[in-house]
Every structure is written in structure tokens, then in C-alpha cells.
């Protein structure tokens, strides 16, 4: 059993959420062999090796940072929030697709979420892990990170609860915890499947411990369903709260270009936008590499492309309103900020961002183009870049020229900024590679359920 059990005609042409001809046994086999019996593909080793290399770059950059301090980065007055905050917002935004897919789409009973949720949740976790690194290492004295938490410290003071930066700590750590729980609880029945199928004693022990004694009895399932739904309910507000609070980090400041009420919805839409872009960027190569076209079908890609288009339009509306309000406010500084964005030293980046985030996704209006998989991949990739540029523009253009012309300045990342950023991408990919090697990347039992419901609908 070294090859996937079935290789029947794929569902590419149809609009099913699962390829035809699948039975309970076949989906279980197809997903679990990747983890259990298939020989680790050479591509996996290459991919993992390369990303691990980047993880080493990250460690190197962070070690040097701890030794030398944040002076190795490009930040300075007036731009004291450089790459660290740009990357933080970018990663945390990417982390939004997971909970959206798993919680909101679950509550809305969108069946097409089933084959992408596990994978999107894992991606969320890893993105949040990458995001979490940045606020910590930009602290100056990262070893005092625990001062961010309210605890009875010997300084006798509490954190400033009126500051969104403190809300951030709670928002992000709650989000990470709930996402982790959600992901893990969803994994339990599958871990039990792996435990029962594993041949190697060590693998059986490992999956057995993680499965926490799951036997699949009616009581287990009943509790499982309750817990899962409750968590979904808990996670739903988090989808909007986290990026809302991240946007407050900016909006509460009186810096021109930040002090704007449109920020929360516009940030949340941007987060979901970039999250879906990342899911697509990863899902498309994966389904090709592991021949999962009949589990992650064209229907999935099509739906994700539509979500991408919709959130992209909301984001475009956000850009439009930002520009409009800068003019409508009549405020000298706001107007200058916008003029500076459009034609100042960072203008090329701004126009590149508009191209990536607004122009390119318009191809998704056409069903024929949405069916073109390589094109979807390229669009998703471009949106990822565009969203990074967006955060760069927000952070840098507002700060580098604010109220006092005498304190204007320019900002650019140093080699260490880039090393850290690229390093986190490596960390993200390395974790993903480990995930697809060690855990079922598609929920096995939910796919079985899907086979069941699809069948009963057909009959």
C-alpha cells in the first residue's frame, strides 16, 4: 500500500465538493497513507530542508538582535515602527483564514469547508506563531516580555489598560489559544484513526497519547460535537476582534493616516483577504503534489477565489475611503499624508500595492479564469505581496512625514530586517512541512461524513 489507493478521474470538471467514487474506506486510506505508509517524497525533503535553512537564518538574526539590540534594524525616529510591526500585522492577518473557515463556515453549514479546514487551521496557528515573534523581539528587552501581562509585579503597577497595545496582548494570545484548541479537538478522532492504523510501535504510542483515549463511542461523539460547536461559537467573535484591535494600535494614535474610523472593518477584510490568499497559495501546490484533486476540488478553489474577490473589493473600498476622507477632512496634515502617499518617495510602493490588491484580483470575475489553476496560484501570490506592501505603506508613510517637517525622515529595512522576515517565512513553511508529514492534512472523519451526506443526497 505505498501508492494512493484510488486514482480515478478527478473532480476537476465537476463542481462537487468531493470526487466521485469515494467510499468511507477510500478517503480514510487516501489521507492516512500520506502520513503512515507512503515513503516520504523527495520533494518533501527538499522543501523541508530549504525552509529549515531559513529557520536557521531566523535564529541567527534573533540571536544577533538579542546580543546587539534593535539598533541593528532600520528603525529610528521618526519611523520607530518598521518591519516588526509590518510583519506582525501581515502574519496575523494571514492567520485569519483558519478560524473563518473553521468557525464561521461551520456555523453557516458550508460543507465545502471540510477538506480545507484542517489545513487552514494549521496554517493559522503557524502564522500566529510567526506573528507573535515580532512584537516580542521588538521590545528592546524581550526577556521582560511578561511585563505585558497584568500580574502582581514588584513594580506595583498594572499595564495601561487604556492602551490598545495591551488589548493586543490579550487578543492575540486568546486567538492563539482558541485556534490551537479548535485545531487539536478537531484532530482527536483522526489521531485515533492514525493510532489504529499505524504499524510502528512508536507511532502508535505517539498518536495514542495524542488521541487521549478516543474510542469513537456515541458518548465520545456527542461530547465531541458539543465541544466543537461551543468552540466554534467562541472563535467566531475572535475572527473580527483580533484584527479590529490590531487596527486600534494605529487608529487610536493621532498620526495622520492612522486616526481613522474605517480602520477596523478595513483591517478585518484585509486580514481575511490575505488569509484566503495564503490558503490558496499553499493548497494549490499541495493538492498537485499529493494528488488530492478529488478531495480539494475545483469547487473549493472556485469558492475561495470568490471570497478573495469579495474581500478584495471591500479592501478596495477601504483604500477609496481613506483617500476620500483625507480630502474631505480638510485637515492639512491628512491631505499632505495622502498626497505624499500618492506622489511622495514611497509612491511606487503605493501604486504597486493598488496593482496587486485591486487590479489583479479583478480577473477572478470570470468563471473561465477562476478555473485556471496556475492563474489562481499567481493571483493569490500577488495578493500576498500586495497585502505586505499595504502594511508597509500604512506604517511607514504615516510616520516618516508627520506634523513637523524638521523631523521628517526616510525608512528602509536593513539586512537584519529582511533576514528576520524571510526567516519567519521559513519557520512557517517548515512547520507546515512537518504538519503535512506527521498529521492528516485533511480531516478524515469529516470527509467520511461528507461521503455519507453526498451519497444520501444523490439517492
Amino acid at each position: 500500500m505505498t501508492e494512493p489507493v484510488i486514482d480515478k478521474p478527478t473532480a476537476s470538471a465537476t463542481h462537487d465538493v468531493i470526487g466521485p467514487g469515494h467510499t468511507f474506506g477510500s478517503v480514510t486510506d487516501k489521507i492516512s497513507v500520506i502520513v503512515l505508509t507512503q515513503k516520504t517524497p523527495q520533494g518533501w525533503w527538499i522543501g523541508f530542508g530549504l525552509s529549515f535553512l531559513l529557520v536557521m537564518v531566523l535564529f541567527y538574526a534573533i540571536t544577533y538582535l538579542l546580543a546587539a539590540g534593535v539598533g541593528i534594524w532600520g528603525v529610528n525616529v521618526p519611523v520607530a515602527w518598521g518591519f516588526a510591526i509590518v510583519n506582525f500585522v501581515w502574519w496575523i492577518g494571514i492567520g485569519h483564514a483558519g478560524t473563518l473557515i473553521s468557525a464561521i463556515l461551520l456555523l453557516l453549514r458550508q460543507r465545502w469547508r471540510t477538506s480545507i479546514n484542517r489545513f487552514a487551521e494549521a496554517m493559522t496557528l503557524f502564522a500566529v506563531a510567526c506573528a507573535g515573534i515580532f512584537p516580542l523581539i521588538h521590545l528592546g528587552r524581550p526577556w521582560f516580555f511578561y511585563w505585558l501581562f497584568p500580574y502582581p509585579n514588584p513594580m506595583g503597577i498594572w499595564p495601561q489598560f487604556r492602551s490598545p497595545l495591551v488589548w493586543d496582548v490579550f487578543a492575540v494570545s486568546t486567538y492563539a489559544t482558541v485556534s490551537l484548541l479548535f485545531w487539536y479537538i478537531g484532530l482527536i478522532p483522526d489521531l485515533a484513526t492514525l493510532r489504529d492504523r499505524a504499524r510502528h510501535r512508536f507511532a502508535r504510542m505517539a498518536y495514542g497519547i495524542l488521541a487521549m483515549g478516543w474510542r469513537g463511542s456515541a458518548i465520545h461523539w456527542h461530547r465531541y460535537e458539543t465541544a466543537y460547536l461551543l468552540l466554534a461559537g467562541l472563535a467566531t467573535p475572535l475572527v473580527v476582534s483580533v484584527h479590529t484591535i490590531v487596527s486600534f494600535d494605529f487608529a487610536v494614535g493621532i498620526v495622520p493616516g492612522w486616526h481613522s474610523t474605517i480602520f477596523p472593518p478595513y483591517f478585518v477584510a484585509g486580514a481575511i483577504y490575505s488569509g484566503f490568499a495564503m490558503v490558496m497559495t499553499l493548497a494549490i501546490p499541495l493538492r498537485a503534489a499529493y494528488r488530492l484533486q478529488d478531495l480539494i476540488t475545483m469547487r473549493h478553489l472556485d469558492n475561495m477565489a470568490k471570497v478573495l474577490l469579495t474581500t478584495g473589493l471591500i479592501v478596495a473600498y477601504g483604500y477609496l475611503m481613506e483617500t476620500f476622507f483625507a480630502w474631505y477632512s480638510g485637515n492639512e496634515f491628512e491631505m499632505y499624508m495622502m498626497a505624499n502617499r500618492l506622489a511622495g518617495p514611497y509612491a511606487p510602493m503605493y501604486w504597486a500595492l493598488l496593482f496587486c490588491n485591486i487590479i489583479v484580483p479583478q480577473v477572478l470575475w470570470f468563471p473561465r479564469l477562476r478555473a485556471h489553476v496556475p492563474l489562481l496560484f499567481i493571483v493569490a501570490l500577488i495578493v500576498n505581496i500586495g497585502m505586505w506592501l499595504e502594511r508597509y505603506i500604512i506604517v511607514v508613510t504615516s510616520l516618516h512625514r508627520d506634523f513637523l517637517p524638521s523631523s521628517w525622515g526616510m525608512y528602509s529595512g536593513t539586512i537584519w530586517d529582511w533576514a528576520t522576515f524571510v526567516g519567519t517565512i521559513g519557520l512557517f513553511l517548515a512547520l507546515l512541512f512537518l504538519f503535512i508529514r506527521l498529521l492528516p492534512m485533511i480531516s478524515i472523519f469529516e470527509m467520511r461524513e461528507l461521503v455519507h451526506t453526498e451519497e444520501s443526497e444523490r439517492n
Binding site: 500580574y151 514588584p154 513594580m155 506595583g156 502508535r204 483515549g213
Partner: protein, 218 residues
């Protein structure tokens, strides 16, 4: 298929899950304790000094006033450490053969000052001022403990920020009439709270601003 785990694993896993909870709480508690323990704050730690100078002998034994040696405590931020010649005012005449006093005499001969090791030492980012505290009726004993009973100098309080703030938030609990600042065994004759509130008014202590960060971190 044989079971992978023995049935006792069930109990074991329950115990570890609950145990982990207590373990984590216990660890956090331990950390909090360590953070306030002498290990971190150096409370009651005696330092090696060139001369084993005893406040007990000189203050309660002979009855010398603090200001005889700590001259600038009333009008400077720095309390002042006595010079060798201050010691020699007496020790040029008494205990002239004492082994212990040899470093003092040597310092006097050579003119090289004694190098005392600091016992109280705030971080450099904290601004502290003795004169204001003395003027507003905070006794030496409130911050330094019963110096007159210390054979060797040691720190009596943690000097952590929460300790400063405990007083700055409510100085009425500690202030005393100015004339008793140097008295080690003074106790209020009426209720401290009533006396304190009156003195806070009388000495014009502005409690509202005493916890501003910039008072101590300038």
C-alpha cells in the same frame, strides 16, 4: 489487536492533567516569591566592608547623631558617607591599638579614602532624594529599619518600586513630626492615621502627584 496502553494510563493521564494545573500555579507562585526574596532584593544581606563598622556601638552605644556622619542627609539627595577624618576625631584618641581600626589609620596616613561597599543601591534610572523625605517628616527608621540595633549595616526594606509606591500612595501612614526624623525608637502618641493626615496637610505633601512616573524616573 493488543491494547497499546495499560488501563492504569487512564488514571495516570487524569492525574497529570490536574497535576499540571497545580504545578503551573505553584511555579508561578514560586517565581513571585523569588522575585521578592532577599535573593533578588538583597534585604538583610551583609556586605564585606574594609572596617566592620557597627551602628549599634556608635549610635545606641555612644549616642552619636546620624548627621554627625551622614552630614548632607538634610539638604542633599545624597546622605553622605563620613570621611576618614570624621572617624579619627575619636579614634585618634581611643582604641588606637585596635586591629580592626588599622585600615582607618592607614587611610588617614596615606590620605587614600576608605572604600565602603554600598549596601543600598537603587538602579541609576531611579531618582531618589533624601532631603525632601527628611523635610517632610519621613524617619530614617521607616526606610532603613532599626539602624541603631545593627551590628553590621544591612538593608531593611526591598527598595522595589512597589515599596516606594506603597508610601507615595498614602504617606499619611508613615510621616512623623520633623523633629523625630532621626529618632530610632519614636512611636506616635496618638493614632498614626490622624497624626499623618494632619502632618500631610501641615507639610503640604502633594499626594496626588507623588505617583507620577516622572517623580522618580526623570
Amino acid at each position: 489487536m493488543a491494547q497499546i496502553f495499560h488501563p492504569s494510563t487512564n488514571t495516570l493521564s487524569r492525574v497529570t492533567i490536574f497535576g499540571a494545573l497545580f504545578l503551573i500555579i505553584g511555579l508561578l507562585w514560586l517565581l513571585a516569591q523569588i522575585n521578592r526574596s532577599p535573593y533578588v532584593t538583597d534585604v538583610n544581606v551583609v556586605r564585606a566592608q574594609p572596617v566592620p563598622f557597627s551602628h549599634q556601638h556608635h549610635v545606641s552605644g555612644i549616642g552619636i547623631d546620624c548627621r554627625y556622619c551622614h552630614k548632607s542627609v538634610e539638604n542633599s539627595s545624597f546622605a553622605g558617607i563620613p570621611s576618614t577624618s570624621t572617624c579619627m576625631n575619636c579614634h585618634a584618641h581611643i582604641w588606637t591599638n585596635s586591629e580592626m581600626l588599622e585600615p582607618v589609620r592607614e587611610s588617614f596616613r596615606t590620605g587614600r579614602p576608605l572604600r565602603w561597599t554600598r549596601v543600598h543601591d537603587l538602579p541609576d534610572f531611579v531618582y531618589f532624594n533624601h532631603s525632601i523625605h527628611v523635610q517632610k517628616g519621613v524617619g530614617c527608621v521607616t526606610c532603613h529599619g532599626r539602624v541603631d540595633l545593627m551590628p553590621l549595616m544591612r538593608q531593611a526594606e526591598s527598595l522595589q518600586m512597589e515599596w516606594c509606591l506603597a508610601c507615595h500612595r498614602a504617606p499619611a501612614r508613615f510621616v512623623r513630626p520633623r523633629e523625630h526624623v532621626f529618632q530610632m525608637d519614636w512611636v506616635p502618641s496618638i493614632d498614626q492615621q490622624d497624626l499623618g493626615e494632619e502632618l500631610v496637610r501641615k507639610y503640604n505633601i502633594r499626594v496626588e502627584q507623588l505617583t507620577d512616573c516622572s517623580i522618580c524616573h526623570r
